[in-house]
Symmetry: C2
């Protein structure tokens, strides 16, 4: 049984806590946070602390902290031989260089605090400073997920950028779609099956082959009639993405 | 038993043919297409024709044709008392004005020829020229789908524009995400669960509440480091969408 101390009480920390709560091979023995309020949620189940000097000895320390707090906390932490991990997509492994054994444990998913997640299908990207640590981390990640990938800091950065495109920006386009529906007294619900099928097709066929629409088929009449329908900000987005689709697919001709 | 003649052999026509094939209340008695090649697929199951003068009398004519062919075919068709419908998202009901009974039967989904669809969950947007025809069309649509909506031509146009945002443009962002992964030797597969969860969250929470990411939290350090990572076209898209997200969510403050 390996002992884990969890740092942080945010979305990732909370979901990790639940994921390892039923494990036979790992036990979270302490949760640290700089503020005590959010620790109350954990206090009936595990030892809690707000003091970095009171961190319990353990085999693994998981720092599930915000990017800016991560560097500060790791600086203040005492030296240890435990494997020290962070969970941040956009932060290099080097931020933990002061620890003899260190690595990254990055679960790639969009977490909401009150929505249960099925960790078994969430990809976990791992990176460590030694082969021995990689073996330890791979075991840790495989305990909760069937999809563990060895990913370097540079690759992780590219994943983080790509995730902004396929998640944050995609979600913004959903928001624009909903706005257009609302402005025309059309229930957004009508678009729900299309949203799900578009995601599913991109995964099954690959997004490049799945591309359809007036931009791809260069249907200028439909494009013009759509532009007339939109406000200036939407027109800018529509024009830029239409042009980019045509640049990408025009090259095939 | 109502008799249907189906015009067209494309994705929508093919899926409609299969959807009504097992119906007890409707029977497709003929399929028309201007070219004979694509009709061969249907010839063992139903009467086929390439001649508009040989259209069989029926109760309902469904014109599942491309936007530009639709007007031409409806002009050439003989007068009829049958209910004449088109399936085009971007075309007004008025294109069928010459027919006494006419309407629109628009299934809102992205169809691929070789991927089976479950019509029961596909929204069908309907519009007709009389209340009596609306009742007939509602029955026809409800035969295959549990989600039938009365939608005007103007509303349908807004849906069509919104669909470009939530499907065509979203798919393009998936393509960019895949490109970034490929350029960095990262399997795009790692992003699949995120893509599905993003779609699912937008549907369950509403996309505006589901927005996350560096743009929303105004994390300029991450934004700058992402921009350095991208080519010029990607930078333009990243900057415009980041600004739009900040315009939308900044207003809340």
């Amino acid at each position: 049984m390996k002992r884990i101390v969890l740092f942080g009480t945010g979305n990732v920390a909370t979901h990790l806590f639940e994921a390892y709560n039923n494990s036979a091979n790992y036990k979270i023995i302490q949760v640290y946070n700089h503020a005590s309020t959010s620790l109350q949620h954990f206090k009936d189940e595990v030892e809690i602390t707000t003091d970095l000097d009171e961190i319990t000895p353990a085999d693994i320390y998981i720092l599930a902290l915000k990017d800016d707090i991560l560097a500060k906390v790791s600086q203040k932490m005492k030296e240890t031989d435990a494997l020290v991990l962070h969970t941040a997509g956009a932060v290099s492994i080097e931020v933990l260089n002061k620890f003899k054994n260190h690595g990254v444990f990055y679960p790639l998913q969009t977490f909401s605090k009150h929505k249960k997640v099925n960790f078994t299908k969430i990809p976990i990207c791992i990176e460590t400073n030694t082969i021995a640590n990689t073996i330890i981390l791979k075991e840790l990640a495989s305990e909760i997920s069937g999809k563990v990938f060895e990913i370097s800091s540079e690759q992780r950065k590219s994943l983080h950028v790509a995730a902004v495109f396929v998640s944050n920006f995609v979600n913004f386009l959903y928001t624009e779609g909903e706005k257009i529906c609302n402005n025309n007294q059309v229930p957004f619900e009508i678009l729900h099956p299309l949203i799900l099928e578009t995601a599913s097709k991109a995964i099954n066929m690959g997004p490049k082959d799945a591309q359809t629409g007036p931009a791809k088929r260069e249907d200028q009449e439909v494009i013009n009639s759509h532009l007339e329908f939109l406000n200036e900000e939407q027109q800018n987005i529509y024009s830029l993405l239409t042009l980019s689709i045509q640049n990408l697919h025009g090259k095939e001709l």
